[in-house]
């Protein structure tokens, strides 16, 4: 459905404008004057942070008089709309919002316009997080990196996990996964309260939510893709320990149906007051503090992810604003004008105040000091530890493999060792097909 920012969003935008005008530091000066621009259309996912984005779009229209249409689409439909847009003669969208796992398909096929081509020499403002470098594409290495990479997109958010917990049930948030297990088991009292939960459903859900465990136990899917070493290491002893701990926590503290639990289920569990701790993306935060949706508004808090023997492991799963090649230059200029405005300090502050997840360090640090924004400290800690485990072009296929094999281990179809061995074999096959320099470790004893 293509919509202009709704009346409610316009009211919110006006209210934001009034509030911001009253704060000297955040008045009009901290926004960018983009002048008169062509109307633009943005393909965007209707995710938990959409409300905040809609409000900030209303503020943009209010300030600049330029029109922005939003095609808010459920997650499952965004990819096909984006693909169809770049495969037609002229894209109906001026900005495509693309999920992290899909970007490489678009980068590789050269259907996006590098941002430095639209605005000569454009670079991200230094205050903006580069979110694991997923906005850059190194054509030669076929890898997302700022080293030798071209800037292809800007961040509408940098989604990372945070540990969300109830202050009435958890005195001190767990610092390690051993603490997490001990605390969640102590609290576990089903069906009234579950100690801990995170997504276990097959696919992106379990893959992404297992990553903090894997990374913090020192496990990796691939040895060193940035340097071209695609040796598969997912069946390492470290990865096995991480998976066993993940399963132990999920079986010991989550609902019995954890193997089928998706993001909505986990959020609901916490918002309904039936969980003491959950691991969710920071973008879900608005659901916990909205009194119309949450029973834990006054007792919910966020903490950095626990650490393991390998330190703190956080996987980034962010979105990307990109400009398709198949639009006229004046529309590309208008798209860039909006994106540059959106990344200003003023717009990012307005975005955060409307429930969005800001991507500027200065905004996070300033707001994080204020009451009601304490969660931003946990977000920042995790963001700075965040990495992209699938920064290569085979990422989508590897995620499919991981999503299946991890789920099979969780529901008991395969032992953890067999699941990791199967995953390693299949991932190696994927890399071999692409002509990568690959190999694998010796299989784990099953």
């Amino acid at each position: 459905m293509i919509i202009h920012a709704t009346r409610r969003a316009h009211l919110a935008g006006t209210a934001l404008a009034v509030i911001l005008a009253g704060v000297p530091a955040l008045a009009q000066d901290s926004f960018l004057d983009v002048g008169e621009q062509e109307p633009i259309t943005i393909l965007i996912n209707s995710s938990p942070w959409y409300g905040g984005f809609e409000s900030v779009v209303a503020l943009y229209e209010e300030q600049t008089g330029n029109l922005v249409e939003l095609d808010a689409t459920p997650y499952n439909g965004v990819l096909e709309k984006a693909r169809n847009a770049v495969r037609t003669a002229e894209s109906p969208y001026d900005i495509l919002n693309i999920d992290s796992g899909w970007t490489i398909e678009f980068y590789e096929s050269d259907v996006l316009r590098p941002l430095g081509e639209i605005v000569e020499g454009y670079t991200l403002p230094e205050e903006v997080y580069t979110c694991g470098d997923s906005y850059f594409w190194n054509e030669e290495k076929q890898y997302r990196t700022s080293e030798g990479g071209t800037l292809m997109a800007v961040p509408p958010n940098c989604n990372v996990h945070v540990l969300v917990y109830r202050t009435d049930l958890v005195e001190t948030p767990p610092a390690t996964y051993d603490d997490l297990l001990a605390q969640c088991q102590a609290i576990q009292s089903p069906p009234e309260v579950y100690g801990f939960a995170t997504r276990g459903e097959r696919g992106n859900g379990i893959h992404y939510d297992f990553m903090p465990f894997l990374l913090s136990y020192g496990g990796r899917i691939v040895a060193d893709p940035a340097s071209g070493d695609y040796t598969v290491t997912i069946n390492s002893p470290e990865a096995l320990t991480a998976l066993e701990r993940f399963i132990e926590v999920e079986h010991g503290c989550a609902p019995a149906n954890v193997g089928a639990m998706g993001q909505g289920d986990v959020i609901q569990l916490m918002a309904a007051g039936n969980a003491a701790m959950v691991e969710t993306v920071v973008a879900a935060w608005a659901n916990y503090v909205d009194p119309t949706k949450s029973a834990v508004v006054d007792t919910v808090a966020a903490a950095p992810m626990p650490e393991g023997p390998g330190g703190r492991g956080v996987a980034i799963g962010n979105w990307h604003f990109a400009v398709p090649r198949n639009i006229p230059d004046e529309r590309a200029q208008a798209a860039m004008a909006f994106m540059q405005w959106f990344l200003t300090e003023g717009a990012q502050t307005a975005y955060a105040e409307a429930g969005g997840i800001p991507v500027r360090r200065d905004v996070i640090e300033t707001l994080g000091q204020q009451p009601g924004y304490e969660w931003m400290a946990a977000y920042q800690t995790n963001l700075e530890a965040g990495v992209h485990p699938l920064g290569f072009s085979e990422g989508a296929a590897v995620e499919q493999v991981m999503g299946l094999r991890l789920n099979q281990a969780l529901v008991g179809e395969l032992s953890p060792a067999a699941a990791l061995n199967s995953a390693a074999r299949e991932i190696q096959e994927i890399f071999a097909q692409s002509g990568r320099q690959t190999g694998s470790l010796d299989p784990l004893p099953e």
Partner: protein
């Protein structure tokens, strides 16, 4: 082996008058071809071209660039991949189990319901209308509705079990149960369709044959076994073929209920196809899987037809 009497007796066949070839005016011939042309064009555009394109895709690796789609001819690579794709064969097995169990249940229940309703003296129309309501519900609503019914924490099934001190049961999260849970939804959804076809068939049966059998002392079972079932064979075959084809293509309700999980418990071939085509963007290999699925459906229907003929004999 016997032969027709004229040939085995060596008698000369009756003289056939020589066929006179009348030269058709060329205008008539052109007109005949011209009138056929629209049908030929429709057939080519809607059937031949898509099938040919599917076959071309199935032996290719397809990539999209800013210049459009590029096809590389890689039949051996695609076939080698298929041969090593254990997951696809697991999906195929799951699909066959799903089709066999759900279609058999739907046929049996649909037939029994049709028999029962045909015996209702009044209000058959109302009963028929009520019976077909599940077919009218949109698949997305069915998925959402049953997801709530099966919900682990507050679903009606687990609430009911809780009242008698049982459960909760992981209807969709237990790998041993999940497939049967989606079969149940399919049976609920599609039994009315089978009922509708078979009920129409039963209503069209010659009453005098059944009444004559009854007068001769046949029991109800004998009437059903010896008269109703043989006379209903064409309707049963139509219902079976429709349902088997649709069950092979099942996607929406499983996608909404389990997305193929937990593990591979409910991943049918359509879901795999979706993942290969849309998640992995591998159009060539996806097309090859589509061809295999079409062949599997044809093989299934031929096998079922042969079995039915053997049982009939």
């Amino acid at each position: 082996m016997s032969f027709p009497s004229e040939i085995s007796s060596g008698a000369a066949p009756a003289a056939v008058p020589p066929r006179r070839h009348r030269r058709e005016p060329s205008g008539d011939r052109w007109f005949r071809w011209a009138t056929l042309l629209p049908a030929v064009i429709v057939l080519v555009v809607l059937t031949v071209w898509p099938v040919a394109n599917l076959l071309r895709m199935a032996v290719s690796t397809i990539e999209f660039t800013r210049d459009g789609a590029s096809f590389a001819f890689t039949p051996a690579e695609n076939l080698r991949r298929l041969a090593g794709d254990d997951l696809f064969f697991i999906n195929l097995r799951t699909t066959v189990i799903f089709v066999v169990v759900s279609v058999i249940l739907e046929m049996v229940l649909g037939f029994l319901l049709a028999l029962m309703v045909s015996g209702v003296p009044r209000g058959k129309g109302l009963v028929r209308t009520l019976m077909i309501l599940p077919i009218l519900v949109p698949p997305v609503a069915i998925g959402s509705m049953w997801k709530l019914v099966y919900n682990h924490d507050f679903g009606i099934l687990n609430q009911a079990l809780g009242v008698v001190g049982l459960g909760p049961v992981g209807w969709l999260s237990n790998p041993d149960l999940a497939l049967w849970s989606v079969v149940l939804v399919d049976v609920w959804h599609w039994t009315p369709f089978v009922f509708l076809i078979l009920f129409a068939g039963i209503e069209g049966l010659p009453r005098e044959v059944i009444e004559a059998a009854r007068v001769d002392g046949a029991t109800t079972w004998q009437i059903v076994r010896r008269i109703v079932l043989p006379l209903m064979a064409p309707a049963i075959a139509v219902a079976f073929i429709f349902r088997a084809i649709l069950a092979f293509k099942v996607f929406d309700q499983i996608f909404l209920l389990t997305s193929g999980g937990p593990g591979t418990a409910t991943e049918v071939v359509s879901l795999r196809l979706y993942r290969v085509f849309f998640d992995q963007n591998e159009l060539g290999y996806g097309a090859l899987l589509s061809v295999v699925i079409i062949l599997a459906v044809v093989a299934f229907l031929l096998t079922a037809g042969a079995l039915a003929r053997r049982v009939g004999r």
